[in-house]
Symmetry: C2
Subunit: 412 residues, 2 copies
């Protein structure tokens, strides 16, 4: 029986998950591929650390040693950082290996180059694990794109920041307390910047943009905002209104322009993201024929991510000569109105006495926290003048809290 020889780069959470799953699901893999999958090598960083790896596997800190193996079919990359990963994967492709990656930062930066190089070398690139862990969002998007024109993708793409927001609301914790818990649980790194400032979600959004629209927006023009400005007071005020903060990534195409944002927004009970709690991820795909499809599930973790990697492994093995490449939609431009509608916002730092015809005051939720109605442009103008203002979009069909307004009126 032929054997598929695999190298795993990195033996952290994802790398070890892939290794264990290849052992535990050997039978399933063999039945799917008609071939045995064998881990031939593992690339590690620290030779001293004890690892539970079969002694026939080459364990090394030197990738060149792996490249010199007599037979190597697939290289699975589960490291972090852009380099030396990108360089290593280029070498793997040039040697004729399929590559599979779970590294969103590297792939957002170099995905296009890797795929072009893979096409020249007649091998495939799998990257299902770069976005939303175990949720097969890339595969689903490809499936829809066979005929649909995708207009917008929205998602909770970072489990760590969603966990922090959930714990802050649930336990009335401060951001610092919730972050500490996330670190204790192994959800957040010692330096949590990538997660809480939205860089991780940003990279994933760019990868989705490339699949959905065949291109990305100018990275500098993407509005990226973290969750560090959200206090437990704000979360409490939102809760009074039946709203929850969610760190939402969004990418959409209007005409020929692609617009991306990663920022905290407020959603009500009827929004599917309202109920996505803890480390769960969710992605909504809006397309012209099907409408809105939402996928929810574990966005990270050892085994969910390993599953995504191994689904790619099966895919690249089955389609050995077929290159899995970014598919651009025949972008018959979806023309949409450019008029800025008025939306509802939760704002703080705005003087109660402030008066401006373009802003409608709706309610004072708690001391200094207001709901207003305004267009985004008008609100941005205002913030330029008063930098102390924080504002958050209330998504969907917000019903002003009529009852509490009436109470106030009758109490006057």
């Amino acid at each position: 029986m032929t054997v598929v020889k695999v190298a795993i780069l990195g033996f952290g959470t994802v790398g070890e998950g892939v290794y264990r799953t290849i052992q535990s699901h050997a039978e399933e893999l063999e039945s799917a591929l008609g071939k045995k999958v064998e881990v031939a090598a593992v690339l590690i960083k620290n030779k001293q650390r004890e690892r539970n790896i079969h002694k026939e596997v080459l364990v090394t800190t030197d990738f060149e040693e792996i490249l010199r193996l007599p037979k190597l079919d697939i290289v699975i990359e589960a490291i972090v950082n852009r380099e030396p990963t990108f360089t290593i994967l280029q070498k793997a492709i040039e040697r004729g290996c399929h590559i599979i990656t779970a590294n969103k930062e590297m792939f957002a930066h170099h995905g296009k180059q890797l795929i072009e190089l893979a096409e020249q070398n007649n091998v495939s690139v799998g990257f299902e694990a770069t976005v939303a862990g175990g949720i097969p969002v890339i595969q689903t998007l490809r499936q829809l794109l066979k005929v649909n024109r995708v207009q917008q993708i929205q998602g909770i793409l970072n489990g760590t920041s969603n966990f922090i927001l959930t714990e802050m609301r649930d336990k009335k914790w401060s951001f610092a307390e919730a972050l500490l818990q996330a670190q204790k649980n192994g959800y957040a790194e010692a330096d949590p910047t990538n997660d809480v400032e939205g860089f991780d979600a940003f990279y994933k959004t760019m990868i989705l943009s490339r699949i959905a629209f065949g291109e990305e927006p100018n990275w500098q023009e993407v509005e990226r905002e973290g969750i560090t400005s959200i206090t437990s007071e704000l979360i409490g005020a939102a809760e009074k209104l039946g709203l929850r903060f969610k760190h939402l990534a969004s990418i959409s195409k209007e005409g020929s322009q692609i617009k991306g944002t990663v920022k905290p927004v407020l959603v009500g009970n009827e929004n599917p993201f309202y109920h996505v709690e803890g480390v769960e991820n969710a992605v909504s795909l809006h397309s012209d024929i099907v409408g809105r499809i939402t996928l929810q599930g574990p966005g990270a973790g050892m085994f969910p991510t390993a599953s995504a990697v191994i689904e790619d492994l099966v895919y690249v093995s089955q389609n050995d000569a077929i290159k899995r490449s970014f598919k651009s939609t025949a972008s018959a431009a979806v023309e949409q109105s450019k008029v800025q509608p008025k939306e509802f916002w939760l704002v703080t730092g705005l003087a109660k006495t402030y008066s401006n015809p373009s802003i409608t005051w709706i309610d004072e939720v708690s001391k200094g926290v207001f709901v207003i109605k305004a267009s985004k442009k008008d609100l941005e103008k205002l913030v330029k003048q008063q930098e102390t203002i924080f504002y958050f979009s209330i998504l969907g069909e917000y019903e002003p809290a009529i009852a509490s307004t009436e109470e106030k009126v009758s109490a006057l």
Copy 2:
């Protein structure tokens, strides 16, 4: 340029949706396939009716005429009923056509035979549209099954019954009133039996079982219960507890035994099905590596279903010689405990004075409507003795309404 010649059988909601989408998305199809897709024929029932079909298309009531076309690549079936559909599709396969169907009843009965016949004739069978309309649940399941062992699938698979339950709660309507509205909106047939008695969901569940487990349970042993016994009073009582009725289909494998049910259950706010409202469908896939993934979206309707059909069309065209066949998981039996746990139930028709050590009384929600805790077996024993009892499972982590119990206690 080569052309893919297609016949559409039936010109109802789905058939017309497919026809219109092939016209409106000609450019996308051509770019995906490198071939033009051309509707060569449409099979209709009634020649008198006016239809907006291009005059170059053969429109006929006689399938034999379609079979005699000089070139025919794909037959898309969007009729209802098992016959003559099954016979027609067999002829299409024998002529060498790929077939795509949206007909769950026919496919639940004859899917296996059609797929075997297709394999013999080296053509493919697409059936994404048979389950959950526009939600690509079959494709996602296949993707997961590349490596995961699926343990359970749960879903709201019938939009009509979900719409009725939603309207009954929302508008305080009776079942009859909600059904009438469903019929007015075109969601329910004049004879709604298939939807409200769970036959439609049952067929879909059997199709999912075959993909997930490679086989089906004995149809006679599947517990199938409709929603006609649910009154607006019961819905009101459930709402007081923060619970909603959902018509849930479930299929799971324990050891070598497959268990299927289609019945109304109660779910709380933290259950993903709680928020699936109106004609939406949702499916949760539980598998061993990934965990739980939930997909939600439009389960029916002209264009969502058409999209599923056309995704299949692209698939069968691209994999022209590759047979799309049922995949059975190498079913390393998932052994689970057989001990019947005690669950919470909402019951009516049980005398308040009834005493039985195996049943714990939790609360009286409204006159004659109780929450109890009991194992399913004990409850079934009881129902055998007292046939007036109705009971509904409360899914997930139900918290007894402590507050209202306390109120009652303090009021004593």
